[in-house]
């Protein structure tokens, strides 16, 4: 088993050189986030991640959460780790100081979240869901609810959950049946929700459930869904906890991975109806829920980066240690890191992980600008970019994470299929991330429908123009960067063609958007990733020229960017070809012939 060491050097590089921490920390409210402060935050978070969270990853997997006497019991050590996490003030890192948050940029919390997720994905799901719930409450709830619940959730003293799914309502929330009936100043909620992550536990004294339900007179479909706050324990006027609300975890799912994270079936109203409070306007629950989901989508994209990094670290450590076979030019038996094909796998893991990290951090920085930029047009511009990139960060990063964690197993050979090395766990744990918070298919539909077609491709053209404007900078930066440029141009042109094709075709072929969406999304991820790798290469080249900093680090940046250009960017052409093939062969086969 390997330990997790947060890649702080790499993180600082991405924060400072690619994501633009130096402009984020000029935004009003973010002035405190100077590079030295961010360094200190990263170092301490790294310590907590590797010393407290990472050691519980494997034991948590083996033990799993259990339902005992109607209570969910987390694996040994999780309660102490969670207490350490909350006492350390980590839960509220990027949250509003008004509610005891630390008010750091989302960019910084993105880097820190990467550490938590890489150290222990199961653990990190709990704060991830809480953060989503906090965002939804902060944006939509009335002051009374905020006063009662928000501060405790910001500090992590209480956790939050998202209760959306029902057995008949998965990706299709229109089918939600849970009922909410007015009862004085509150509502009575009845129904059953499934797949509720950290739906119950004893880590904190209270849990705040956000629940989608229908009012008695609600219209059918998604326009009739409202969002309710349902606390596990009712909260008295004075803030003390009252009786247990009518909500319970009734069973836990047996899953492929993230065993330590309890996935609950939650039953509301077995004894007459759980007390709930309406968040925002009646029947506007979906909008509130999207607030949660958007945050969570970037968060899950980050999990893709995190699990890929963890898998990479394990694979590199194993490849350095494992002696097997021999290679030309080396005497005797060698460690497998000397074998070309093992190196190919490690480079694929490394290059794609770095590309995903850069895109995720870049998007987080854009999100900070979209909230905090002083100028409204500027905010709108950044918001367009965030909207465009969010489904890519979510779906592309999590899909590539599948490839990376699979390679992680492959590098280990037979030992990879055996649990003790840990890489099988990363593979299993990571399998959920393309599914929850909107599957890859849902993300791709969001990209083509809401983000490309709806604005007639304007946001996409802005992105393509930015990439094109960057390309020429690579000319003067040496041979490697020129080669990277050639690959980037090809990729960018492919993305433009794919996107144009979609805009020209969707009106005539109703199946086209859905049929090409995932390939277009993967094409976009690959190219945007290549753009960031190109930017990294340019910075590295300049640093090497000026003899600044760690030459080994920058040299490997250059090499990794070159590898990405040579071995990953060619995939853009393949994705484009699939896009251009359209929907015909996808839709042609009659249902019954499947």
């Amino acid at each position: 088993m390997t330990t997790y060491i947060a890649p702080t050097l790499e993180m600082r590089f991405v924060l400072n050189e690619l994501a633009g921490l130096d402009t984020v920390n000029t935004l009003p409210g973010y002035e405190e986030a100077t590079p030295d402060l961010v360094d200190a935050v990263l170092e301490e978070a790294a310590r907590l991640a590797s010393e407290v969270l990472a050691p519980l990853n494997k034991t948590g997997d083996a033990e799993g959460s259990k339902l005992i006497d109607s209570k969910v019991v987390a694996p040994e050590g999780f309660a102490d780790a969670y207490r350490e996490f909350v006492e350390g003030g980590w839960a509220g890192l990027s949250m509003n100081p008004e509610f005891d948050g630390q008010g750091l940029p989302g960019l910084v919390s993105t880097a820190v979240d990467e550490m938590w997720n890489a150290a222990n994905l199961s653990f990190s799901l709990c704060p991830l869901l809480t953060t989503g719930a906090v965002e939804a409450l902060a944006t939509h709830a009335d002051d009374d609810l905020k006063q009662t619940y928000l501060a405790k959730m910001v500090t992590g003293e209480w956790t939050g959950t998202m209760n959306l799914t029902e057995s008949q309502a998965g990706s299709d929330l229109a089918a939600v049946r849970t009922k909410a009936v007015p009862d004085g100043d509150h509502y009575r909620i009845t129904g059953q929700k499934i797949f509720i992550t950290w739906g119950d536990h004893e880590l904190t004294e209270n849990i705040v459930h956000l629940v989608l339900a229908r009012l008695p007179d609600a219209p059918a479909g998604v326009k009739g869904i409202s969002l309710f706050l349902v606390p596990k324990y009712l909260v008295n006027e004075d803030g003390s906890l009252g009786e247990h609300n009518d909500v319970h975890a009734v069973s836990l799912e047996h899953k492929l991975g993230v065993h330590a994270s309890p996935t609950c079936v939650m039953s509301f109203g077995d004894r007459g109806g759980a007390v709930g409070y309406l968040i925002g306007e009646p029947n506007k629950g979906l909008a509130c829920m999207f607030t949660m989901m958007n945050h969570a989508r970037l968060g899950v994209g980050m999990q893709g980066v995190a699990i890929a990094e963890r898998s990479l670290q394990a694979a590199v450590a194993y490849a350095r240690d494992r002696v097997q076979g021999s290679v030309p030019g080396k005497q005797g038996r060698v460690t497998i890191i000397h074998h070309p094909d093992v190196r190919r796998m490690l480079m694929l893991m490394r290059a794609q992980t770095e590309a995903m990290r850069a895109v995720a951090y870049l998007t987080a920085a854009a999100l900070d600008h979209s909230h905090h930029a002083p100028d409204a047009d500027e905010r709108a511009g950044f918001l367009t970019r965030v909207d465009l990139l969010t489904p890519v960060v979510k779906a592309w990063s999590t899909e590539v994470a599948q490839e990376v964690t699979t390679l992680g197993v492959q590098v280990h050979g037979g030992m990879g299929y055996v649990e003790e090395t840990g890489c099988a766990q990363y593979f299993r744990d990571g399998r959920i991330i393309t599914i929850y918070e909107g599957t890859t298919g849902i993300q791709a539909n969001d990209l083509v429908g809401r983000k490309i077609i709806r604005d007639g491709g304007q946001g996409m053209r802005g992105l393509l123009a930015d990439i094109e404007a960057f390309e020429s900078q690579l000319d003067a930066a040496g041979e490697v960067c020129v080669a990277i440029k050639a690959a980037l141009i090809e990729g960018r042109v492919a993305l433009a063609r794919g996107s144009d094709w979609l805009l020209q075709t969707y009106a005539n072929d109703m199946y086209a958007p859905g049929a090409v969406a995932v390939n277009l999304l993967m094409l976009m991820g690959t190219v945007v990733g290549g753009w960031q790798m190109g930017r990294a290469a340019l910075v590295a080249h300049d640093k090497l020229q000026r003899n600044e900093g760690d030459a080994t680090f920058y040299q490997s940046k250059l090499t990794t960017a070159r590898f990405y250009a040579e071995h990953v960017m060619p995939r853009a052409a393949a994705y484009l070809a699939a896009v251009l093939a359209g929907s015909e062969s996808i839709m042609a086969l009659d249902d019954e012939y499947f």
Binding site: A40, G89, Q102, D550
Partner: protein, 249 residues
């Protein structure tokens, strides 16, 4: 009482130290640096003394290159009240460090000075004893427990034979060993607050201290590598080898 705690910036314990190619020293460029773990124990103890009401102010001092500020900030984030950096690019050996600390003590007048028993880079284990000597103060090295009572402090020392308990007249110098405490994880809000805590800068010249080295490092090398031995099949064979071949049991 006022406590002075001394912190050193060293190559992180997770990093394998390697001699530079020319053998002139150990590679420290672009290597992860952090607070000497024994000093971290000293900082923790000082913060606990303040939390217990024994101390009312804690000042941390570090010396060396500008980046030692980061180490001081860590101490501030752990609960130290203010920091002093004695900034110099010169190589500092324990004797010079002790003279600098003595000068700081004369300015700050603490009743108790805490620092790690040694730094994990040069492993000298000298500095605390040296400035205690300069000041004519008592010293409690290798401390595993300390109790302040009036004008004295009782120190349990981890010595080779076990534990030795001494009573030291204040002011005193205490060097800390592993058993004393387990340093806390730094809390995020405290990292933020640490940024606003005062951090003064001084130079050896301002303190009037000559820091010229007395020892010249002629070269550094890697130690001879141990050869891997043999694998034995089972416990019986092992005990046989240990008894008859190695003759250690």
């Amino acid at each position: 009482m006022k406590i002075l705690v001394c912190v050193k910036r060293v190559v992180d314990y997770n990093v394998k130290a390697r001699p530079k190619a020319d053998g002139s020293g150990v590679e420290t460029a672009n290597v992860k640096m952090s607070m000497n773990p024994f000093d971290e124990i000293a900082v923790e103890e000082s913060v606990r003394l303040k939390e217990a009401g024994t101390a009312d102010e804690i000042v941390a001092v570090s010396m060396g290159v500008a980046q030692c500020q980061e180490t001081l900030r860590t101490a501030l984030a752990m609960g130290v009240d203010r920091g002093i950096l004695i900034e110099t690019d010169a190589e500092l050996q324990p004797l010079a460090v002790a003279k600098l600390i003595k000068a700081v003590i004369e300015k700050e007048k603490p009743q108790l000075v805490l620092l790690g028993k040694q730094a994990i880079d040069d492993d000298a284990n000298q500095t605390g004893q040296m400035f205690a000597a300069f000041l004519g103060w008592s010293q409690g090295t290798f401390a595993s427990k300390l109790t302040v009572a009036g004008e004295s402090v009782e120190v349990a020392r981890e010595v080779d034979a076990g534990t030795e308990i001494l009573s030291l007249q204040l002011p005193a110098v205490i060097t800390t060993d592993l058993r004393l405490n387990e340093p806390r994880y730094v809390k995020l809000p405290n990292i933020m607050k640490a940024k606003k805590k005062p951090l003064d800068k001084l130079t050896p010249e301002e303190l009037g201290v000559d820091v010229s080295p007395r020892l010249t490092v002629l070269k550094v090398t890697e130690p001879a590598q141990r050869e891997a031995g043999i694998k034995v099949a089972n416990a019986a064979e092992l005990v046989g080898k240990l008894k008859n071949e190695a003759q250690v049991i």
